[in-house]
């Protein structure tokens, strides 16, 4: 499964949103109904799923679907 697809599924599961809403430009808080705690949870799920460590200053910049995918890909060296 591609990074995009895995990220998408985590977001759908965590935020309870439809696949169609999970587009690269979608903001977790403004578009997908997340609150600040849910975004922290999302970052934890990304760390678990991809076995990476996301430092707090990086986590703060992961606010959209696209920024999550880009960050994770970079971490994985893709």
């Amino acid at each position: 499964m591609s990074v995009e697809q895995r990220v998408k599924e985590i977001i759908m599961d965590e935020l309870g949103v439809d696949e169609a809403a999970v587009v690269p430009g979608a903001s977790f808080i403004n578009d997908l109904g997340a609150d600040s705690l849910a975004t922290v949870e999302l970052v934890m799920k990304f760390e678990d799923e991809f076995d990476i460590k996301i430092e707090e200053e990086d986590a703060e910049k992961i606010t959209t679907v696209g920024s999550a995918v880009d960050f994770i890909k970079k971490q994985l060296g893709e």
Partner: protein
């Protein structure tokens, strides 16, 4: 000036039903909700029974995503609150929601959430502890969640006094409306601590019955063969409303809350005062608060836990408070059928007490085969419900720490 306060809605989520009528009929019929624990492996624990709600599916009541963010106790609270709201027939759009109090109780709070996050801490380290751990675990969160669900913006908090927590929540709600700080209150309690950690803790205190082979006979208040209480779980919620408002809108009024009595034992961290002095003073304070005489009390729904140390002092307290009249009072214990719901006990049991006052029926104390004589010689309504006029009733709850709360219910005649 003190205002009158009536009960216009009730909701329950319990082993004996999720509907007040069903719940009360089961109580009248002496049905037991106690069974073997299925939720966790009990092989290493001496206690293997509880009043456990079976086949509970959170997704029947909540969106999957929402359920994940609610501890079980808050889920139970929201389900019972929803039933009580519906039952009240209140049109929230026609009232001032700033005048709607939410005062709920939990003796412990989100124990399952606590345990699952502690496991994560040990296994994966602090970075993996959920950001929702604290807001899911804290015992006041049910009150917050209820307020958010219905946009209720009056006084909002929770009470914690162990097994008397919801007695204090309801009593405080009564005062809040009586003295004009709100016109409505949703109040009650929720508890969900049938977990290995909690059962082990209570079991090691020797507080729980180990009659594992006969779950339905394990909770036997006032019986000489009682050996401890049985853990229960669930929620009870009530809608209290200022009397004039309820009458004006043509609400169905179950009964009136006419008095409350709170007291402290100042004796022991877990055992009640052996002489029952605190319990006696709580009951008499409720009677005085209602402006009636002790002889007016027809029915007492006891705390009646089925513990060796609890039932005798409560009986002594009733005798000291009511004298010879104690023998004319129909007494019972709801815990004989549903076990002990800790911080939800006061609310769930008060619902039964209110039904007793409304319908002139008193549910039995089941498993009362051989009363603990010579002390326990009152009429505990053994094993079979009775019909009798109930104009005034008391419902007692007492908690670890020496907390006592007694709520006085008066028949409403419109």
């Amino acid at each position: 000036m003190k205002r009158r306060v009536v009960v216009t809605g009730m909701g329950v989520f319990s082993t004996l039903g999720t509907d007040v009528e069903e719940f009360y009929n089961n109580l009248l019929n002496g049905v037991s909700g106690i069974s073997s624990i299925e939720r966790f492996d009990t092989s290493e624990i001496s206690v293997k029974i509880a009043g456990e709600i079976k086949n509970y599916d959170p997704e029947k009541y909540f969106e999957k995503n929402e359920a994940k963010r609610l501890d079980r106790f808050t889920q139970y609270a929201l389900i019972a609150a929803e039933s009580a709201m519906k039952d009240s027939g209140l049109d929230l759009d026609s009232i001032d929601r700033n005048r709607f109090a939410v005062i709920t109780a939990s003796g412990i709070g989100g124990m399952e959430t606590w345990q699952s996050n502690h496991k994560i801490l040990l296994e994966k380290g602090p970075r993996r502890v959920s950001p929702l751990f604290i807001p899911m675990m804290i015992s006041d969160i049910a009150a917050g969640r209820i307020s958010m669900k219905w946009d209720l913006k009056g006084p909002n908090f929770s009470t914690t006094s162990a097994c008397s927590s919801s007695g204090h929540a309801i009593g405080t709600s009564y005062r809040t409306i009586q003295y004009g700080d709100a016109d409505f209150a949703i109040c009650g309690g929720a508890e969900a601590v049938i977990t290995d950690l909690a059962i082990a803790g209570f079991a090691n205190m020797k507080a729980l019955s180990t009659r594992n082979d006969e779950p339905q006979k394990a909770s036997r208040p006032f019986d000489k063969d009682r050996d401890g209480f049985v853990m229960g779980e669930g929620s009870g919620m009530l809608i209290l409303e200022e009397y004039e408002h309820a009458v004006k809108r043509g609400a169905r009024i179950y009964a009136e809350i006419a008095g409350i009595g709170f007291s402290g034992d100042a004796k022991d961290i877990v055992a009640p005062d052996p002489e029952g002095d605190g319990a006696k003073r709580a009951m008499l304070a409720a009677v005085a608060d209602a402006g009636i005489k002790p002889e007016d009390i027809d029915h007492i729904n006891t705390h009646g836990t089925s513990t060796p140390t609890g039932d005798i002092p409560e009986t002594l307290a009733i005798k000291k408070a009511f004298g010879d009249h104690a023998y004319k009072i129909a007494i019972n214990s709801t815990k004989s059928m549903i076990g002990h719901l800790l911080g939800a006990a006061g609310a769930v049991e008060l619902i039964g007490t209110i039904k007793a006052v409304q319908t002139n029926t008193v549910h039995p104390t089941v498993n009362l085969d051989n009363p603990e004589l010579p002390v326990c010689d009152l009429d505990y309504t053994p094993n079979k419900s009775v019909k009798r006029t109930v104009n005034y009733a008391l419902s007692n709850t007492f908690g670890f720490g020496g907390h006592n709360a007694s709520i006085l219910v008066k028949k409403f005649e419109g």
